[in-house]
Symmetry: C2
Subunit: 422 residues, 2 copies
């Protein structure tokens, strides 16, 4: 990987590149050099340059480095040495650490080099999350408001025109984000084999794009739940503009309070916020609300193995969130008269979606900074860049699961219809 | 459902239909009538007629009954009353119980009426299976020989010409069994995105149809494991006839002994015989043998919830077998660098496959009876008919899971290619 292996070198001889800037007036001392060594070891083999506050440089030579990580002070070096995974995000957001070069590529290489087992910081983070940011009725509101009620204007800067804040479906990788989000809405409706007039329960409806699409294009009658006040207000406005009053109802309430009987159940991008300890409650909602020939659909960020989100993401971006393995998702269904018909992993589509979001976000960095401050803008950029990297490397997955009542034979014969021209 | 509800009637007044045959010389006594009532209660609401050895008839009237269940003696009535689920199979196989009318439909209604929880007999059966018919290296041989080494000639009577003894894939329900089995082989190869020259490890290869198809039609080099001596001998002969020596190797050995590195892993219809306590061993085989860009495929009979096979089936037909839920299947992969890309439930295709097998079997009943005896023939018919019913009612599922190495991006962009014309 072109990285210098510092462990092979005696402590005092850790070589710095020749000082490249005027700032490098003096070389750092022995303690700092030990800390640098530790940081490079923790990221063993990653081809990046590490530049200190005095301009001194370590690590991979510039010609083979994918990026240069610049540390602004000794405290950041110390924090990185002590907690290499945990300190990076905070230091980046606060501007104490900068990345010059390809941030996504650097994170991608870091994810690829990640150990299969995670350290105790993750376990502690997970426990802290359960206690500090629980997904109870009240806790969920706090967690959701924190992320989704940043203001619709913020999301309008970098999402597609319909404000779809979940993985798109790109028929080809070259499709535009707008087209891919509409293709995703279609993909979901096709998988559900929606029929005109059917009653749909949606839980976690975001800004309402899917509910509106189902009503407008497929003739469904949709009841959609969401606890984000800003999103519900927007969605109601949109439905009114489109003349869908009476065909789409947006309910500002928790999914656990849903009632009635429906022909279809759908949840796109809410499961991440439910938390595995509350999966049984979600299972009961589906069991209670789905009719005898009903079909259901779950779409969620997932994992190849049971692991918490990166603690920095869980703390700063998605409080209380958890991405399940596919087997954990299925355990929502298996206690009930429900069975999976079809599961699809679309992780590369989420990587592509996030590339679009990141590029759009970058074009609006100034405005975001002006409105929310620099720390927020940097945090958000790191979150988007890290998510691209996570989906590219398989650290995160995207699962779509179609299911039905176990006993019904009103199920599709094959999946060929999903791919037929219309 | 048209069934007579005997629980509403006082014991002595349980009405029999007018004796319909000359055999009904005398009416049965009070004890037998209590036992009849118990049998009818246990199958509460099922529209069948129950005829006793003396010709007396109970239950649904002939015009609304889907079938007439005829008991040949008091011992069978007693056994059914004591253990309604467990005694039926043995009594049917031994000819002490007969079904006149639509056997499949009767079983289908029985499955639909099954309680969600199973009785203690099932739990005992499961434990007995673990102890008496374990899937250790030695135990697996005994279990597999018992079912698959009945003689190739037996299976040739009612399978397709390529002896594919797993769920077919019917592009339309009207496709012939022959066409549907070839379509299944194609569906598997397409899902695996096989490329010419790739090395494939198959475990549990049956009579070799898939291995041969992959080599002949897709240019793969296949190593296929099986512990059924009869099947391996047949497969080797077929490969030789087709000039595939050197491109397909059939190994008479346990899947646990597989070694080497492969581009693809495939297992169609073996998992049922592995048993959940041995899933970790299968997971290790895949982890050890699959290359960094490898794809894998698991195809198995499954369940909507974690339950043993019907004890009669497990004891008489598939010793040691277990059908997992989809989440149990995925737990083979999740401890490793493996992740599901695609899962498909084809249970109605297995119902259709079994309808074909049952019809062909019925055409050869005389020959089977001559060679294996009447009890075997009746047992086999009940197994096939019960399996049609189980897949029609969702009591059994059929899961196909495609997976890949977590870190590889050499994965299909969408599934549209599976459904494209070629």
């Amino acid at each position: 990987m072109g990285g210098l292996d510092p462990s092979a070198l005696p402590d005092r001889s850790l070589p710095a590149h020749p000082p490249a800037t005027a700032r490098a007036a003096s070389r750092v001392g022995g303690l700092e050099r030990r800390l640098v060594r530790r940081v490079l070891e923790a990221r063993g083999g990653l081809p990046f340059e590490l530049e200190l506050w005095n301009g001194e440089r370590f690590g991979a030579p510039p010609e083979s480095a994918v990026a240069r990580v610049v540390l602004r002070d000794r405290a950041t070096l110390l924090a990185l040495a002590v907690n290499p995974q945990g300190a990076f995000g905070d230091a980046y957001a606060r501007g104490r650490l900068d990345v010059q070069g390809d941030l996504v590529r650097l994170l991608e290489l870091a994810f690829r080099a990640r150990p299969r087992e995670v350290g105790p910081a993750w376990a502690v983070g997970r426990l802290a999350s359960r206690w500090l940011r629980p997904n109870t009725l009240r806790g969920s509101r706090a967690n959701i408001w924190r992320h989704y009620d940043l203001g619709n204007d913020f999301y309008r800067l970098w999402l597609d025109e319909n404000l779809v804040y979940t993985c798109a479906y790109f028929p080809t990788p070259e499709a535009s984000l707008e087209a891919a989000q509409i293709a995703k809405l279609e993909h979901v409706c096709r998988k559900l084999r929606l029929r005109p007039g059917e009653r749909v329960l949606e839980v976690g409806c975001g800004w309402g794009a899917l509910a509106i699409h189902m009503a407008l294009r497929w003739g469904a009658r949709v009841r959609a739940f969401n606890i984000s006040r800003e999103q519900v207000a927007w969605a109601r406005e949109r439905a009114k503009e489109l003349g869908l009053v009476g065909r789409v109802e947006f309910v500002e309430d928790d999914y656990r309070n849903a009632s009635g009987r429906y022909d279809a159940f759908v949840s796109v991008g809410m499961l991440e916020h439910v938390g595995p300890s509350h999966y049984p409650e979600l299972g009961h909602v589906i069991q209670r609300c789905l009719g005898p020939d009903g079909r259901g659909f779950l779409h969620s960020i997932g994992r190849d193995r049971a692991l918490p989100f990166h603690p920095w993401i869980e703390r700063n971006v998605f409080p209380g969130a958890y991405a399940p393995t596919l087997s954990e998702m299925l355990q929502i269904l298996e206690p009930h008269d429900l069975v999976a018909l079809d599961a699809e992993n679309l992780r590369l589509h989420y990587a592509r979606t996030l590339e679009h979001w990141l590029a759009r976000f970058e074009r609006h960095t100034e405005e975001v900074t002006r409105r929310f401050g620099e720390e927020f803008a940097r945090m958000w950029r790191l979150y988007l860049a890290g998510s691209v990297a996570a989906f590219r490397t398989g650290s995160l997955q995207l699962f779509q699961v179609l299911f039905a009542r176990t006993a019904t034979n009103e199920i599709p014969w094959t999946r060929a219809d999903l791919y037929a021209e219309r």
